[in-house]
Subunit: 119 residues, 2 copies
DNA sequence: CGTATCTATGTCCGTAGAGGACATATCCGC
DNA sequence: GCGGATATGTCCTCTACGGACATAGATACG
C-alpha cells in the first residue's frame, strides 16, 4: 500500500542524503533527473554524487510517497530534449523538506552547544 | 577486512541517525548501552528512540569501525551493576563526529538560505 | 555523413543497516 | 519470592544504496 500524505511530515524523518538533496534541488525549480544529478554534485562541490541507480530509484520511491510528481510542462522550450522527464516537488514534499530542515537546524544547534562543531 | 581509522573521517559520512546519536552521547562521557538508549530518548524529547537491536547492532559495527571501544573502567563504583558494558568514544570516533557536525552545520546554513527553515 | 561523445533514463543485483520480535538474566523494591 | 525495571543480545525481514550494465537520442566535428 502506497503511503499517503495523510500522516505527519515528521513521521518520514530523517530523510536519506539522496532524498534530501533531490528535494533541495526541486524546491527551487522543476528539473529533470539528469539535471538533478548535475546540480547536486555542483552544489556540494563534488562531495555528494548520485549514481543513476540511486537517483532514479529514489525518484520512483518519492513519487510513490507523494513527495514529488511528474510535471507535464516543458521549462525552457527553446532548447528542449524529448527524453527529459521533469519532476516537481509536491506541497507534501515541501512540508517534509521543511520538517527535515527544522530537525537538521536543531541538530546543528545541539552539536554547536556540545563543541562538536570546530570552526 | 575491518575498516581502519587510516582513511579520512569524511569518507564515513553521512552517519546514520542511530550512529550519530550514540556518538553524541559518548562524546560527553563513557556510558553503557542501556544508558545510551535512555539518554538519546530523553535528549530528543522522545523523537529518537533506539530499539535494543538497533543499539547493540550499531555498537558492534562502531567497534568494528574503531569509532568506539569497550572501557574497562567502572564510572560510579558506588552504585555499579555487573551487567553493564561501558563504551568510550575513540579519537577517530570524535574526528568522525566532528566531521559530521561540520557537514550538518553547513547543511543547516544552506537550508536556511533557501528558506526551508521556517522558524 | 559517419562516428564518437555527451545527455538521459532505466534495470539488475549484491550488500548492509534499521528495527520489530523474541530470549535471557540480573537487580531492586516491596 | 515475585514483578517490574535494568541490561544485553540474537534472529529475521524489509528496504534502500549504489556499482555495473543496458539502451538510445542529441550533438559536435572532421
Amino acid at each position: 500500500m502506497p503511503r499517503s500524505q495523510m500522516d505527519a511530515p515528521e513521521s518520514r524523518l530523517p530523510l536519506s542524503e539522496p532524498v534530501l538533496q533531490i528535494l533541495i534541488s526541486l524546491a527551487a525549480r522543476d528539473l529533470h533527473g539528469y539535471a538533478i544529478m548535475r546540480e547536486v554534485e555542483e552544489r556540494s562541490g563534488g562531495r555528494v554524487t548520485l549514481s543513476t541507480s540511486t537517483l532514479y530509484g529514489a525518484l520512483q520511491r518519492m513519487m510513490r510517497d507523494s513527495l514529488v510528481e511528474r510535471s507535464a510542462e516543458r521549462p525552457d522550450p527553446a532548447s528542449d530534449d524529448q527524453r527529459r522527464r521533469y519532476y516537481r516537488i509536491t506541497d507534501f514534499g515541501r512540508a517534509v523538506a521543511e520538517a527535515e530542515a527544522g530537525r537538521i537546524s536543531e541538530l546543528a544547534h545541539l552539536l554547536r552547544e556540545r563543541d562538536l562543531v570546530t570552526r
